[in-house]
Symmetry: C2
Subunit: 380 residues, 2 copies
């Protein structure tokens, strides 16, 4: 086994845990908080609730919500300017993967200066960020746990992967009650993102026993709880999906991802598609592509999905993939690439860009851009 690293934030988990925010902010030295969220959350009670929690403890907060899904570089620059101008000292985010990644981007610039594209890739951040507290409002992105930050460079049409130990939040407050106001489609898209994190990290070249116990737990919980969580909004099932997302975050943050996420970032950079919608389209084809490189581990994943089988690892792996495809259909999500993007004219560009993504390097099977083209055609 290679030398491996494992780093996660302090986690506070459970229904109602958001009420501990002010105490956490004090612990990391907050006097004036930049609270980042997105426009979608304006309509919910949660933004007001979080501001109230800070207010009641005498903590001043400045609110910034100019964040799109797939956050843009200029939005990071704007947020960092506000952070500086207002003299903030701690970053708090309430939101899904996009505002959490935006918060990390703002933190990078607050601590290091420059422009966000200066930090693209792995380990390019040299100075510490201000303290960060993340409160995920969806169960899936894993940004609340991970050392990843994905920002769109608008000029180059690239979703940049920025990866650094410095991007692990100080504290992550995960309150499954926040999921209760989310739409069915958002719950499903987020949960499939978590599943994709778990599957890709489980077969990653950098996986370790520490990451695999988490990716396994995440896959098992997803399979068991996605339907009651999404279709019946069962509170226990939503809590279990939150655990799955958290575990998947611990796994991929420390083991890395693979060509599925490389392609998803590339597609998101050019077509601005919602990240969670890409995975049900491409995950089965990517799993089939990787099968020959790691049949035993794909067999383990198959067993997590369909239970023990008296057949070979390869056959069990294929049974797992087929079961996921059926599940995606039952959940009513888009499963063909042709339904997700306008036409196939830019597929070559997308695949050539994907092989440069930082997530690409830990994929268990070598793949050049023509292999990625084959995967996209299979999923077309």
């Amino acid at each position: 086994m290679l030398i491996t690293k494992f780093a996660i934030p302090d986690i506070i988990f459970g229904n109602g845990s958001v009420r501990h925010l002010a105490q956490c902010a004090r612990r990391v030295g907050a006097k004036r908080v930049l609270l980042v969220s997105d426009k979608g959350l304006n309509d919910t009670i949660w933004v007001n609730k979080v501001r109230e929690i800070l207010d009641e403890d005498g903590l001043k907060s400045v609110y910034f919500n100019n964040v799109d899904s797939n956050p843009r570089d200029y939005q990071i620059h704007e947020g960092a300017e506000i952070y500086r101008r207002e003299g903030c000292d701690v970053l708090v985010c309430l939101g899904g993967g996009s505002p959490m990644d935006a918060t990390k981007g703002i933190g990078i610039l607050a601590g290091n200066g420059g422009r966000i594209r200066d930090y693209e890739g792995a380990n390019r951040i040299m100075r510490p960020l201000p303290p960060m507290i993340l409160i995920p409002s969806t169960a899936g992105s894993g940004s609340d746990i991970s050392q990843f930050c994905i920002i769109t460079d608008v000029e180059r049409e690239v979703k940049m992967s920025i990866i650094s130990r410095s991007l692990v939040a100080n504290i992550s407050i995960i309150d499954p009650l926040l999921l209760s106001t989310k739409s069915k489609s958002l719950i499903i898209a987020s949960a499939i993102d978590a599943l994709a994190h778990a599957v890709e990290s489980h077969v990653s070249k950098l996986a370790s026993p520490f990451t695999r116990m988490h990716s396994q737990k995440a896959i098992e919980l997803f399979v068991q709880y996605i339907k009651p969580a999404a279709l019946e909004r069962d509170p226990h099932a939503l809590e279990q999906l939150s655990i799955a997302s958290t575990s998947a975050g611990m796994a991929f943050s420390n083991a890395g991802l693979g060509i599925l996420h490389a392609l998803a970032h590339s597609l998101g950079g050019i077509y601005d598609v919602l990240h969670g919608l890409v995975h049900p389209v491409l995950l089965p084809s990517v799993m089939r592509y990787n099968l020959s490189a790691c049949p035993e581990i794909m067999g383990d994943i198959g067993r997590m999905i369909v239970g023990p089988r008296l057949c070979s690892s390869k056959e069990t792996g294929l049974a797992g993939i087929a079961t996921l495809e059926n599940l995606f259909n039952e959940l009513g999500v888009t499963t063909r690439l042709r339904e997700l993007i306008p036409d196939d004219s830019r597929l070559e560009t997308i695949c050539k860009m994907a092989v440069k993504d930082a997530c690409y390097v830990s994929n268990p099977r070598e793949a050049d851009w023509t292999d990625l083209m084959d995967i996209c055609r299979e999923a077309w």
Copy 2:
């Protein structure tokens, strides 16, 4: 599910990982390190190796090794005085549970002043500690992962439990190669300590899905690898025991322990017995005592030890306990309390002291001191 917390240090794990020490020390701002170890380690190559690694990177280090097993309060005061006098800024420990706990104690006083007994109990530490990097030389104590620190108050004959988030090290460097120079008896005693952490935290009132996935992994790895690790010193098995100890540390640090550790601390305070020798003596009796309060979870533990059984949870739990008792006998460790302490004259004092230990509160079944007496008599 209650609101739960989960905090661990950054972990660097693997054969040869100790060579990353200087880089880690730089990351936490070291200029002058207090290196803590114990006298037993003087004879090994590892102390010199660690000093060399620091030297080669231009990091000055002061060496302190006046630490006994069951570290004494006056040794903590001495270490803290040296830390101050020498102008150190970072604590590094190479050693087992005793020097690691001593290091934490020195850190408490360096950051907070006063005497070590001022901090006995949970959450009594108000100011931050200097950065700490821990390098465990045994696989078992879990101090490298945990927020626990156990120091003997010599005057009162009490092993004090000090528990605080501040006691989680910044970085834990876990290098299984360090185990290769350890004696068989030390490997066994340490591993059984890890098993006890896993079993007690698995049934703890404060256990969560995050801690249970780690305690389960630890129990499974212990059962599978203790014999090849201890008897054949198989390198793969030693590595797996290190993973078990690390996982058990993540579990008990966040879920707490129970009456077994309360009794072990009490026994260690009065008779100065080696901590790891107490568990094979008392663990089976404590498990039988707790069985009625949590038969389902004890059944799960039974299945981890003996595999699936077609009988009730209670019967499977009992089968697991019996298998552990056989295993302890095969490993040749002391399994009767009468062989561990000189006589039973102070048992009442020991049990009355144990119910005041901070570990006592998370035990799944209520127990007063007379219940603890019954457990000790069963184990006599």
